[in-house]
């Protein structure tokens, strides 16, 4: 009788917001039966800073720098999405050289982001040697970004209507040399993640997501591509210089963690190819066109492929020098549902690996959502109301 009672009991393991396995604040409640996960609940919002409201009080140019700081890992792609949208609203054509430099920086950013991810994921697997080696090699691409823009993390390459810096032959050679080194190392890492027996035990057959599941759960980016879902904005709906420099899609079939490693590492080769192609055939011409201070009234939608998947911007202008509304949907929020689903049935020790498998970025995804199921709900939140709501909400949580 007693024994049966113990068998039926489940235990809830709280993880986060501060936890060795999480570099960012988020909270998970994992219900376990022994070592097996039976349920998982995620609580987001620790990095919610209120950016969408804050951009409504700043002008178009200030917002560029604000939006770049949504995420320190994919800062360039946020700025690109915003610039493409605003340029579309203003009806401005960006010179081809500027478009190419944007794509070049975006691909360099993808390299740095994927290297970062492979390192962090190896760290979660307990393979710290790989983490250290990968991060040593990642410094090569950080140096290249620094050579180009002067900054290691927030490059500030984009301005509305163009880009800020040019590439000369010397820098192009430095990039080519850096890429040669990185390509050699990437071959080695591909070999490690697909053949190392110890590593495969942590990844092979773990967190398997079938193609159907990936589609139903609405995953995007490399997470979807590892389950053989051909979803890549660069290919489906090319933007900017991707018309002239088409990207090839990288797909894997297995849908487990190994496939997610392999997809991201193979995407690096695609990025190397694109960067080399751009450097060899960089169009000449201006770097920027003149942008009006006030943007014409209208609204637009802009989709780009961030390192983690599809990044979506909705921009609405009311004809002034400030936007009326900017809505951002980042790839992590699309992929987060898959984590909650996939961890069920796995061992607790696999949870960090499955979570890291989607390459989560909590600073990107923390937005406020109000659910009101009554019909005709319509309310515009003012700054003061939001502030008060925030204070009341946390007092309530705290008491």
């Amino acid at each position: 009788m007693m024994e049966k009672k113990i068998m039926d009991e489940t235990f809830t393991v709280p993880i986060g917001p501060q936890h060795p396995a999480l570099k960012e604040p988020s909270h998970f409640r994992i219900t376990v039966d022994g070592e097996i996960v039976t349920n998982a609940v995620v609580r987001l919002g620790y990095a919610h800073r209120g950016i969408e409201k804050a951009v409504e009080g700043r002008n178009w140019i200030q917002n560029l720098y604000m939006l770049e700081r949504i995420c320190g890992i994919c800062s360039h792609i946020h700025a690109t999405a915003y610039c493409l949208g605003v340029e579309q609203l203003a009806g401005v054509e960006v010179p081809p050289r500027a478009q190419a430099i944007r794509v070049l920086t975006a691909e360099l950013e993808r390299i740095h982001s994927h290297f970062l991810w492979v390192g962090v994921a190896a760290h979660e697997a307990g393979f710290d040697t790989l983490f250290m080696y990968i991060w040593r090699d990642r410094e090569t691409v950080m140096d290249l970004l620094e050579t180009l823009s002067g900054n290691r993390v927030n490059y500030s390459v984009n301005i509305l209507g163009g880009v800020k810096f040019d590439i000369n032959e010397e820098q192009a050679d430095a990039i080519r040399k850096g890429l040669d080194y990185l390509e050699e190392r990437t071959n080695h890492y591909l070999d490690v993640v697909s053949n190392d027996a110890m590593f495969l035990q942590r990844t092979s057959g773990i967190g398997v997501m079938t193609r159907n599941q990936a589609e139903v759960l609405g995953t995007v980016g490399p997470t979807a591509r590892a389950s053989n879902v051909a979803r890549d904005v660069r290919v489906e709906a090319p933007y900017g210089a991707y018309f002239d420099y088409p990207a090839n899609i990288v797909l894997e079939e297995r849908g487990d963690l190994t496939a997610r490693f392999v997809v991201r590492i193979k995407e690096l080769f695609e990025s190397y190819r694109l960067i080399r192609l751009i450097l060899d055939t960089l169009p000449s011409g201006d770097l920027e066109t003149r942008m009006p201070r006030r943007i014409k009234e209208g609204e637009t939608v802009c989709r780009v492929e961030a390192p983690r998947g599809e990044l979506f911007y909705f921009i609405k202008s009311n004809g002034t020098d400030m936007p009326e509304r900017i809505k951002i949907r980042t790839p992590t929020i699309c992929n987060m549902t898959s984590v909650v689903k996939l961890v069920i049935g796995h061992q607790l020790a696999d949870v960090p690996m499955i979570l890291v498998g989607i390459d989560p970025c909590f600073s990107c995804n923390d937005r406020m959502v109000i659910l009101d199921r009554s019909d005709g709900y319509k309310q515009q939140w003012t700054w003061e109301a939001l502030r008060q709501h925030g204070i009341d909400y946390y007092h309530e949580q705290h008491s």
């Binding site: 501060q18 604040p25 700081r69 991060w135 927030n154 600073s363």
Partner: protein, 171 residues
Amino acid sequence: MTQNLLQDTIQRLKTWARINSPWVLHFNSGSCNGCDIEILATLTPRYDLERFGIKLMGSPRHADVLLCTGAVTRQARDRLVRIYEQMHDPKFVVAIGACALSGGVFRGCYNVMDGIDQVIPVHAYIPGCPPRPEAIIDGVVKLLSSLSIPTAKVETQPSTDGRIETKECSL
């Protein structure tokens, strides 16, 4: 007299040990990740913070130094205070990045507290958006060298409104 000498020697030994192997804890209080990846880069082979005996720990109870990034969102505030309280004395806080110093670009946003020092006492400020790994090393090393001075300010009692006041205490 002998008692004092003994205590003095133990104190000096403790300070020596602390300076030579401070264990750090990293907490992201709503940062954009920019500073966090630079902290990680600081710990990896190119910059190798471990040559100063600095090691990244997972638990606040093992840590001497809290490396804190982000503008402190309202949700993360209570967690930050709790983590700070869980650390054992003497403890030191390093605020890393423009947001941690003053809120940075997010200063005045409805959900942020405008800097770490609004919530817990801070001993070293490292500016930059994000600071370069060299700047982080410099800040941490400066903090460590300040510890060799016999009395360094630290320590804390949370007051009723959640803020923590600083008082002087010896190492």
